[in-house]
Amino acid sequence: MKFGGTSVATLPRWQNIRELVASRRAEGARVLVVVSALTGITDALKQLCGEGGKDKRKAAAGAIAQRHYDLLEHMQLALPGTLGARLSDLAALAADGPAPRGELAWQAQVQALGELMSSALGAAFLSHSGLPTQWLDARECLAAVALPNQNERTRLLSAMVEAKPDPALNARLAALGEVFITQGFIAREQHGRTVLLGRGGSDTSAAYFGALLKAARVEIWTDVAGMFSANPRQVPGARLLQRLDYEEAQEIASTGAKVLHPRCLSPLREPRVPLLIKDTNHPELEGTVIGPEVRAHAPSVKAISARKGITLVSMESVGMWQQVGFLADVFAHFKTHGLSVDLIGSAETNVTVSLDPTENLLDSDAIAALASDLAKVCRVKVIAPCAAITLVGRGMRSLLHTLSGVLAEFGQLRVHLISQSSNNLNLTFVVDEEVVDALLPHLHDLLIGAGALRTDDSALFGPSWQMLYGGGEVVPAVPAWWRVAQRARLLELAAEATPRYVYHLPTVRQQARELKSLAAVDRLHYAVKANTHPAILRVLAAEGFAFECVSPGELDAVAAVVAESVPLLFTPNFAPRRDYVRALATRATVTLDALHPLQHWGELFRGREIVLRVDLGRGLGHHEKVRTGGSASKFGLPLDQLPAFLQLAETHGVAVRGLHAHLGSGVLDAGHWGEVYAQLASLAERIASVVFLNIGGGLGVPAHPGEASLDVAALDRALREVKAVYPQYQLWMEPGRYLVADAGVLLTRATQQKDKGGFRYLGVDTGMNSLIRPALYDAWHKIVNLSRLGEPATALYQVVGPICESGDVLGTDRRLQEAHEGDVILIAQAGAYGKVMSSHYNLRDEADEVVIDD
């Protein structure tokens, strides 16, 4: 069992260690505890090594000793002899300085004291608290090997140990007792001098001991429950990885995961000792088990990681084609300039390599010198800063077909290099660094959505980081309104007629009230394009919402239902002149998003107050077709035309009262609106007439099982933070789908079934004519057999409609009950962009609409 610096720094943490060791003893295991130095001590010792003067060294040694005395006092222990001896060593080494032993050997001896002291202290504490514990000097067990490529520094400060099972050591320890404590990070070399194991040293020590003793398992106790499917700081929805094999774990550790140093896995591979990562604060969590056995699992992407600060060197030349030694010469230049190459991609006339960020790269002229040398033989291009995004999982190539959505995402970016190793464990894309932070969580979602990251397999994937450490309590999911409370009613409605949309007004109200809790928002508009049913408009008007319309038709629909006093927004895109004329005759505030209206119909707007929709230059959302920001989107005024727009506004006496941006739909990251808000506010500061900012909608509604819903409290925090800085602007939003998606379902009935080449098709009586989102956006809607809820789901169906289009698919690979003709099949989350986007295609009857309000 290995414990790190923070785990051994305080009395409560040592009490925790005692309990954990005792519990292993109770299972009948013999326990070897490996500890790091008290947190901060290794750094303090390093700093001591750097002090020039004897007095400063002595003072530093005194402070380090005091930390240990303080902890002893908390433990109410007398100074144990083993610790006393180490403290005298420390004082002596500090007084002597490096001279007698040689700089590096002295440094190693000084730095080794941290672990020697913490383990001595721990032995005393554990023994005193009724768990007789033998103190073991790691240097008597771990012998470093001399390797040909080592110099004195690496030999002493980042040594390697060859750890083969050693039955003699096992026997020796068995004779001594049941519980041992020893040091991480240190070993001895052939001449008996103390050496250090370098970075990740304590984990590596534990692995060496695990291999030497052929342990039942190695447990790394740390402050997190294990490895995750992504870096939780970048992807809060990252899932705990409960089972990995050595190679996968090593790959994940090498490509970004900080919890385990990659080198500590290789000693365990041959003796097949499993390694377990556990959270000291949550011992009940399963943690990550890394072992040899690859149990039968469906192939799955296990993790996605990003490494930033990558520099690419692209070399272009016809000279390399079939020339012996060309690449050898090229790579020799990299060696000369001390640059280490990581990824390589090559074509007949181009070789591109990646360089990891090192101080040498950043602060010396290495790149300039390299480029000069290479320029003599080829055209060189230095591309930076880049980031390498790596997907890790055993059998990556067999997953390629599931990755189409993910690959489409990369299709929108500048991908500089793609690399796939022959061990079939990874797939790496090198892209511009600036896109990574937003991209990573999005890709993680896409991988889950595409079924490439099989979070449905609970043997492989544990809870999300957010759920474990996110701070918020985990709210148990309330069953959807249609599942229990309204099921009988829905079955009756379906018996009357299908296809049929049913809207549940209490759900609309609930969502509306959720958004009204956003204290920073001064005005909420319902984007009526999502669903224009009069009953829904009435509910939202009663909840105090204003309304956002994009066409005269929508303005009419709203005007027919809501009171004169309710504010309206008119936000069309590429609308004809006559639409503006119509809108200007109403009370609606008009939004412009191009120069054209002011250039050509400026007089129409004279004396008016308008809103300007800008394009902040990037888009977000779950599908290309729902993204509304970025040059590839037709929405919004590009920022470089802003001065021209303001000039036109001035010329025509038009006051720009509001700024608006809307980047896309289905966004689940609360921070995103804060960013849009802050960007709009900083733009508004240059336009004196602006009084409000409209940050749009696009609030995501999770569709897939396991997708976290939008954190409204986090959104509120993000918005309030910006509002505090820009209190002079009112804040507007215009959510649509968020309010109504969950409130609507589409009821259909099963028609026919067909088996075809391993696929089972289940036909229902409507399809893309009623609900086009799956075909248009690859949207995922939950589909259930309402007639047979509760029965075991044994069939895997492709759920399809009756339209003569091969794209008329409502859901693929759906695990459902064995269906019968006439069963009521419910398609969930159909309240938004369902009926409003339906058509008469194939001259099929449109679904009708029913409202329930209880």
Binding site: T311, A371, E434, S689, V722
Partner: protein, 443 residues
């Protein structure tokens, strides 16, 4: 009230008590517009500095009025305290005319002959105040003021990093300097926002002049003998000429203004209060070269024009990558930093982005005039670009390649050397006590 139809701009009153200065203005018979400036932990004004303090406060009132005057640009200016002495009136006439030149150009106004501060009053006789030998160094979050700070630190000078207003970026930079800090708060009159809504004129004002006047008050209040700005040589160059008038976006950073205000402070406030720019002899390129050695600031500074009030940890949270300042600082630093280090500062490579071509063209004065921004002269930008075009690690980047193939053939290579830009000129007003710091920058 229609701001653009007003007849008179009135300097109503100014007052100071307990660290708070109030500056009041009005148009015609309209409501008072009251600006507030807060000096934190203000000591009592020592009796021997009282007259100097009052003179500095009066100047602040007169200079800060420019933010309000420009809302209506009425034909008459009135002073409640009576006419100014000639030197003071001259300073203000010049400041309002040249400081608002860009504003006038953009709005199609001609201010010549319109700005007349009443004169005919008498000037006071003043002497030295034996002010403490320490310096107020305004920090702006960009590279220039940090170069100035490090120069003063390098000669062991006592200094305080000072800034006006709320800015997380500046606060982070000021903290990184390790100097004591002073953050003065300025609140514009709320009535100005209302005037804006009513259709006031709007545009660039000489904000450095306002900040200079605030710091002059601060120097007397807290006791400093010098205020050293970080305005470089090219700030004196006109951005363009329009209808016979020189238009300089950064006139209040020019040597002309520095001389006017510096002399005025010597004759009206205290003979031993010096106002100068420590970077005056240096070109932008000489300054970026000096800044390239200041690695500790790389992850906190930003010269970007987009006023980031909320800071994030990423480069895109400090550099918009679109504005002339981003373009210029990127280009000017490039010859002096390893490429990966520079790209890490900005988080992207602006010179490998074809969408930025127009922005860099403007800097190079290629097919466009110099943008209205505080950036170096076109020739400096061309010298920097030329230096990059000779470097293999830059040559293939989209805009450098474009420069080589399209722009360079039209230029005289003899005019493109970098080295001349690194030589300081002789002209500066740095007092003797700080001249060693001046030399340190060019070293």
């Amino acid at each position: 009230m229609q701001p653009r139809l007003t007849r008179v701009f009135r300097f109503v009153r100014s007052s100071y008590a307990d660290g708070v200065a109030e500056l009041a203005y009005a148009f015609d018979d309209g409501e008072e517009l009251v600006e507030t400036i807060r000096f934190p932990q203000a000591p009592a004004v020592p009796a021997e500095r009282r007259a100097a303090f009052d003179a500095a406060l009066k100047l602040l009132h007169l200079i800060a009025g420019v933010s309000y005057y420009k809302a209506g640009v009425p034909p008459r200016i009135e002073l409640a305290d009576g006419p100014l002495d000639d030197a003071t009136a001259e300073l203000l006439d010049q400041l309002y005319l040249h400081g608002l030149a860009e504003f006038a150009y953009r709005n199609g106004l001609d201010l010549r002959g319109r700005i007349i501060f009443p004169r005919g009053g008498s000037a006071p006789a003043i002497g030295a105040l034996d002010l403490p030998k320490r310096t107020l160094v305004p920090i702006g979050g960009g590279k220039d003021s940090l170069v100035a700070v490090e120069a003063i630190k390098s000669i062991g000078g006592e200094a305080t990093a000072v800034w006006v207003g709320n800015s997380a970026l500046i606060a982070a930079c000021a903290e990184r300097t390790g100097l004591p800090t002073l953050n003065i708060q300025r609140e514009l009159a709320p009535g100005l926002f209302e005037l804006n809504r009513l259709g006031a004129w709007n545009g660039h004002i000489p904000v450095t002049a306002v900040n200079s006047a605030i710091l002059a008050v601060a120097a007397i209040l807290y006791g400093y003998d010098s205020i050293t700005f970080a305005n470089e040589r090219s700030a004196s160059a006109a951005t363009l000429e329009y209808d016979g008038q020189q238009v300089n976006h950064q006139w209040s950073k020019s040597l002309a203004f520095e001389r006017l205000l510096g002399d005025w402070l010597h004759t009206h406030v205290a003979a031993d209060l010096d106002y100068c720019s420590l970077l005056r002899p240096y070109s932008e390129l000489a300054i970026t070269r000096a800044f390239a050695k200041l690695t500790p600031y790389f992850d906190v500074f930003s010269s970007c024009n987009r006023n980031f009030k909320l800071l994030g940890p990423k480069p895109v949270d400090r550099w918009c990558g679109q504005c002339p300042k981003c373009h210029f600082v990127f280009l000017a630093l490039a010859p002096f930093l390893p490429k990966p280090r520079l790209l890490a500062i900005f988080g992207r490579n602006l010179l490998d982005d074809e969408n930025q071509a127009a922005g860099f063209d403007a800097l190079l004065e290629y097919r466009d005039h110099k943008p209205f921004e505080c950036v170096g002269e076109g020739a400096e930008a061309r010298a920097a670009m030329h230096a990059l075009s000779l470097r293999p690690e830059w040559q293939e980047d989209a805009l450098v390649a474009r420069f080589r193939s399209e722009i360079l053939p039209q230029l005289d290579v003899a005019q493109l050397a970098l080295e001349p830009w690194l030589q300081p000129s002789a002209e500066h007003r740095v007092p003797l006590r700080l001249q060693a710091a001046l030399a340190a920058i060019g070293a």
